[in-house]
């Protein structure tokens, strides 16, 4: 659909603000509605919009699938890693109190990191799902 100039230009203008809005939702999950799950989906939807308008090949050039698969696993590792770090510091699994100077700041850091891991996993799973479904007929021919 990229030979339709109206759609192409509006996608070009909207792409960066959508990702910024997704990251805003990610990092303001503590203060208002939002958090990792929602932010991941919004960021993924920006990439999906790009793939829809410019074609799946361009989308894969923008966000290669091997990086996608690495980040897919990295999100879960960050989540588990926070738990293991808190264990190594001498508390229980996923007890954030020990991470900061005071219990409250420790909780704050822990929640921020954990939400980031969730967001990373969800956004990459959604992009991978979309790519797998949209590419299905091409993979079948090979």
């Amino acid at each position: 659909m990229h030979n339709n100039p109206i759609l192409r230009i509006s996608t070009k203008i909207l792409f960066a603000p959508i990702i910024l809005f997704g990251l805003y939702v990610q990092f303001h999950g503590d203060f208002g509605p939002g958090g990792g799950f929602q932010a991941g989906v919004i960021v993924a939807s920006a990439f999906i919009l790009y793939s829809l308008v410019f074609g799946i090949e361009a989308g894969k050039k923008l966000f290669p699938s091997n990086i996608n698969l690495i980040l897919l696993a990295l999100g879960g590792i960050i989540y588990g890693g926070v738990g293991i770090v808190s264990m190594l510091l001498g508390d229980e699994f996923l007890a954030y109190n020990i991470l900061g100077s005071s219990p409250q700041s420790g909780q704050h850091i822990g929640i921020l990191l954990v939400e980031f891991g969730v967001g990373l996993t969800v956004s990459n799973v959604m992009i991978a799902l979309f790519n797998a479904f949209a590419d299905y007929d091409k993979t079948k021919e090979k």
Partner: protein, 155 residues
């Protein structure tokens, strides 16, 4: 250069949306904006089409005029819907703008005023569908075309 302008626009947007001005959140905002610019740069989205800055000096003037038009055509569309006198017509107009962005702006302005909609774009010829002969005449006088060309400022 364009990346820098995009970065500052995004940063302003972040600060306006955020409402919490602690050091942590502002630094996260700067990182986020940098990430957005990086990704947009990678996708080759930062060019004249993705960031039409040459519109900005005359934008406000144009928007006020556009809103007036939208208001007027909303009123007449409502009249047409209530009366039920629908005589649709299809015709073509020629756009006189130079850049693609300005043509898109013209097409979008036509669509944004209820009663007229751009159905096809082929280079600089638009096919327009109008709800009534009055709406069609409004477009055919080319006033909007001249306004957008003036907004573009390249002629």
């Amino acid at each position: 250069m364009k990346s820098l302008i995009l970065f500052f626009i995004l940063l302003c947007l972040w600060l306006l949306m955020s409402g919490y001005y602690s050091i942590l959140l502002i630094s996260l905002g700067i990182i986020s904006c940098a990430f957005c610019v990086l990704v947009a740069n990678r996708g080759k989205l930062i060019d004249d089409e993705g960031l039409p800055i040459f519109f900005i000096p005359r934008l406000l003037n144009y928007l006020i005029w556009l809103f007036k038009e939208i208001l007027k055509s909303n009123l007449s569309t409502a009249k047409v819907i209530i009366n039920g006198k629908v005589e649709p017509e299809t015709f073509t107009v020629k756009a006189s703008q130079v850049t693609e962005v300005a043509k898109v702006t013209y097409a979008n302005s036509i669509t944004l005023t209820p009663g007229t909609v751009t159905t096809k774009m082929h280079k600089d010829v638009f096919e327009v569908h109008a709800l009534n002969a009055d709406f069609g005449n409004d477009i055919r006088t080319n006033e909007m075309d001249r306004k957008v060309t003036w907004l573009e400022g390249k002629k």
